[in-house]
Amino acid sequence: MRFGVVVFPGSNCDYDCYYVLSRVMQIDTVWLWHEDRDLRGCDCVVLPGGFSYGDYLRTGAIARFSPIMASIRKFVQEGGFVLGICNGFQILLESGLLPGALLPNRDGHFVCRYTYLKVENTDTPFTRLFSPGEVIRIPIAHHQGNFFMPFAELEELKKNRQIVFRYCGPHGEEDERFNPNGSLENVAGIASSDFRVLGMMPHPERASEAILGSQDGKKLFLSLITWLKENQGGRN
């Protein structure tokens, strides 16, 4: 089983993801350069957080044209797994690999803090080890995490159970007080309809070691790893 972490110019959580996968999870992990086309046999590709191209036009707007994105698109069609975290999520949206868009945060500035998330769907390879409705603690750090999509599309998303994480309070309260950025219906992470592409604003790689104060993010990586183990790579 192999994971790949993509490096775009301006990625800055690439090493953090690499460290968690290779050292904490002890998984074979390779670097993928944005100009590469070869995904080197990865079972899961991680698009890390950061500021690809400085986020100078729109978050993720320029990175989406990197050569590797064409390979990733194909990989997705073939049933490969993709995890986009923060800027990675933004790139997935710009690429159309996930639906919707991210607007600037409601309060107009960057926000870095721990948030509570409710796991809304545990029937995905990324979340199978969480219990339904479990409340987890994972930090966010972004300027544009305000999830938006037209109403009809959102209904569709809900119907398909594609909303995977929602911001909530420590006891699972899903109200506006615990919405850190103004996201529609507190959406923090969504998946593709086949649950093989997951995009989320919170940073699981920052919550994967006891010394950093939370290990809830580790469960996400572990979920996917166990799924891949049980399904031998799982590509169909």
């Binding site: 110019p9 957080g49 870095c112 930090p139 750090a141």
Partner: protein, 731 residues
């Protein structure tokens, strides 16, 4: 001939300096040469007024120290920890967002230039009163700028300081610090050596940014109608991020002989200092420098302070390999010259030699020691008599009033705008005391803090500076770290005014004496003079940035109460003193000394005790008593966690003293602890062995912040309310 003297004067060179230049060159200098001397000998770059005093600073300490061109550090285990503080005061006052942003960019490149990977930034900020519209604009812009740059570049901003005072109206202070880590054998140097080696320019193109003093040159000597005004530097964190990765990758090849960032005085500074450090010469062809604007003159190119640029000296024959790395990261990488054996900096533009200067002369600016005089205000402000001061009748009211002082409220609104977690090393997050970073793969960790109280330094620059060192050291010990080294940023008014210069020299002596006493080397620093305007000067601010080592990073503690039932203890003496306190300022509208008593010996004993207590795992939280006194230290311990906790404290043991002094006095040498019941006697014994006074204050618990004096309740306020107020002052 007369013309060139006039340019020289307008660029800020003194008459005798001009004469010296003529002597050095043995001829009349060219405009480019004048421009180069003027920037290289400026206060900004050459430190003519301050340099000689640095000899007072200790260079050795508990751990081996390192001194580089732009940054210094200490060695621990097999790593070098490099750190440095910089000011960006003037640019931030003019254009807050970009000024602060480029300040962060600059200090990161200082660290990068030593070959270290930048792992954390700090911002120590001072502004005019928050009620002032302009001060608020500057404050918000600065925070935005640090967030804009620091977040994008992927170096976490994990701590800092924030202080508001009328003395900084019109002259804000933006001091930024960066810490980096490198393998100790793989540090880079700012040298150019080896005749025939290549000088490589990398990073952003050169524009007319920040050509400050040169505007005069532009308007009178070279301008033919067209506008060549200097422009504000704009930060480009994306390019900086790529520059970090590419530079570290280039250094890892082993083919880079030397590297230096182009910061203050741009190409002039990097070329001449690299040549001087390598005892070699450098020849640059300006026609090969990537330019952003058309028609730039040689002096403009030499003085430009365009950001995100570095100069490399590369082994001959390896230049293409190195260029390829920078190109891969999308950066400019042009061969602009070569190393010579001439000992001179030779500049060629449009086929002509426009400057030819001995490198060692250019980099050896004159030294000045202007007259200094003890300011007259000192006697006046140091004559506080407590007898005449009325005691508060309502302590709750006092607490609530002080709570809304922007100097005592929560800094959450600021640090949540900074990505303080990227790189996943931040073990103690901002807002809880000193910041603690792990080092991946190591058991040990790094603790960092910045400190300086401007009012203390105004009332007594010598002791104020000593107290800043002591406070920083105690901040670090209070998380379990052994203080290891210092960087400083000395912010003062005009050094040519005798009272300002006196303040400066006193502060330097204070830092030197305290750090020598504690065994702390001063490995790097920065001086910012002329922080004044026609309405007045700033308070003296010798900011201390301190780095410490914590042997087992898992043992690190912060200053926040963790659990109901824990015992709250005070280490150190309570005295009847209020000098310099925020209480006097906010409640009595008084800024008065003498400063509280303070003993280096007591500080040292306390530091040692804390390191032992924490490494033994005997305490749950620890924080030093500083601004706001005992009461605000308690309050922060209650409120700074995710869920606030109440506390029940009884101050009866000190009821023979003035209660306001007990609660709000800022006497140094005190630390607040919380402990588990079972460790109580152990801690008491250890404190006694070290001769540190030890007293039980009360217990963590309840919903209220409850302070009693015997049976009399002084303060009883619900912590949830307090937290909300405390966190909403800045937003």
């Amino acid at each position: 001939m007369e013309e060139i003297e006039r340019i020289s004067e307008e660029l800020g060179l003194r008459k005798e300096e001009y004469q010296k230049v003529v002597e050095i060159l043995g001829r009349v200098p060219t405009p480019t040469e004048i421009a180069m001397f003027s920037v290289e000998w400026s206060e900004h770059c050459g430190y003519p007024h301050s340099r000689r005093w640095f000899e007072l600073f200790p260079r050795q300490g508990h751990f081996p120290a390192l001194f580089g061109e732009d940054a210094g550090g200490i060695i621990y285990d097999d790593l070098a920890i490099i750190f440095k503080m910089e000011s960006h005061n003037h640019p931030s006052q003019i254009e807050p967002k970009q000024g602060a942003a480029t300040g962060i960019g600059g200090v990161i490149r200082d660290i990068l230039g030593s070959g270290a990977r930048p792992i954390a930034c700090f911002d120590s900020l001072r502004f005019g009163p928050l009620e002032d519209r302009n001060s608020r604009y500057v404050f918000r812009g600065v925070v935005e700028g640090i967030a804009f740059y620091g977040n994008c570049v992927g170096v976490p901003t994990v701590g800092g300081e924030l202080y508001f005072h009328p003395a900084f109206r019109g002259n804000c202070l933006v001091n930024v610090m960066c810490v980096g880590v490198a393998e100790k054998g793989k540090l880079a140097q700012a040298v150019a050596r080896g005749e025939g080696n290549i000088v490589l320019y990398v990073g952003n193109k050169t524009g007319r940014d920040g050509i400050g003093g040169c505007s005069i040159l532009a308007s009178q000597e070279f301008a033919d109608g067209e506008e060549k005004r200097p422009s504000v530097q704009i930060g480009d964190p994306f390019t900086e991020k790529c520059l970090i990765e590419a530079t570290l990758e280039a250094l890892a090849t082993g083919f880079v002989v030397g590297v230096k960032d182009m910061g203050a005085a741009g190409l002039t500074c990097s070329a001449s200092e690299m040549a001087a450090a390598g005892k070699s010469g450098v020849e640059l062809d300006l026609d090969r420098v990537p330019l952003r604007e058309e028609g730039m003159e040689a002096w403009e190119i030499m003085m430009s302070e365009s950001q995100e640029r570095m100069l490399l000296c590369v082994a001959r024959g390896r230049e293409e390999e190195i260029r390829k790395i920078f190109k891969k990261w999308g950066l400019e990488a042009e061969i602009v010259g070569k190393v010579t054996g001439s000992g001179r900096v030779t500049i060629i533009h449009r086929g002509e030699v426009v400057a030819d200067i001995p490198a060692n002369e250019l980099t050896a600016p004159p030294v000045y020691t202007p007259p200094r005089k003890r300011p007259t205000y000192l006697d006046e402000v140091n004559s506080l008599s407590l007898q005449s001061l009325p005691l508060p009748t309502d302590y709750e009211n006092v607490v609530l009033t002080m709570l809304s002082s922007p100097n005592l409220c929560s800094r959450r609104w600021v640090y949540e705008q900074y990505d303080h977690m990227v790189q996943t090393n931040t073990v103690v997050l901002p807002g809880k005391g000193a910041s603690v970073l792990r080092v991946k793969g190591k058991k040990w960790g790094i603790a960092v803090t910045t400190d300086c109280n401007p009012v203390y330094c105004y009332l007594d620059p010598y002791r104020g500076a000593q107290m800043a060192v002591a406070e920083a050291a105690l901040n670090l010990s209070a998380c379990g770290a052994r203080p290891a080294g210092i960087t400083d940023c000395l912010n003062f008014g005009n050094p040519e005014k005798p009272d300002r210069y006196w303040q400066f020299v006193e502060a330097v002596k204070g830092i030197a004496d305290a750090s020598r006493f504690f065994g702390l080397p001063i490995v790097s620093g920065n001086v910012s003079f002329y922080n004044e305007n026609p309405r007045g000067t700033i308070y003296p601010v010798p900011t201390i940035g301190m780095v410490g080592i914590i042997e087992d990073v898992e043992q690190a503690v912060d200053g926040v109460f963790k659990e109901e039932g824990h015992i709250v203890v005070l280490l150190g003496k309570v005295r009847e003193e209020l000098g310099g306190s925020e209480y006097l300022r906010v409640i009595h509208n008084l800024e008065a000394g003498p400063l509280p008593s303070f003993s280096l010996n007591e500080e040292k004993a306390l530091q040692e005790l804390l390191i032992e207590l924490i490494s033994g795992g005997f305490v749950v939280s620890a924080s030093d008593v500083s601004e706001g006194g005992l009461l605000f230290t308690l309050l922060e311990a209650c409120l700074a966690g995710e869920c606030p906790l109440g506390v029940m404290v009884n101050v009866e043991p000190w009821n023979s003293l003035r209660m306001d002094a007990v609660l709000f006095g800022e006497g140094r040498g005190r630390v607040l602890l919380s402990l588990r019941e079972e460790n109580y006697s152990k801690v008491a014994v250890m404190a006694q062995e070290k001769g540190v006074p030890f007293a039980v204050l009360g217990r963590v618990g309840g919903r209220d912040f409850l302070i009693r004096n015997g049976r009399e309740v002084l303060v009883a306020l619900p912590v949830l309310d307090l937290k909300e107020r405390w966190e909403s002052v800045l937003s």
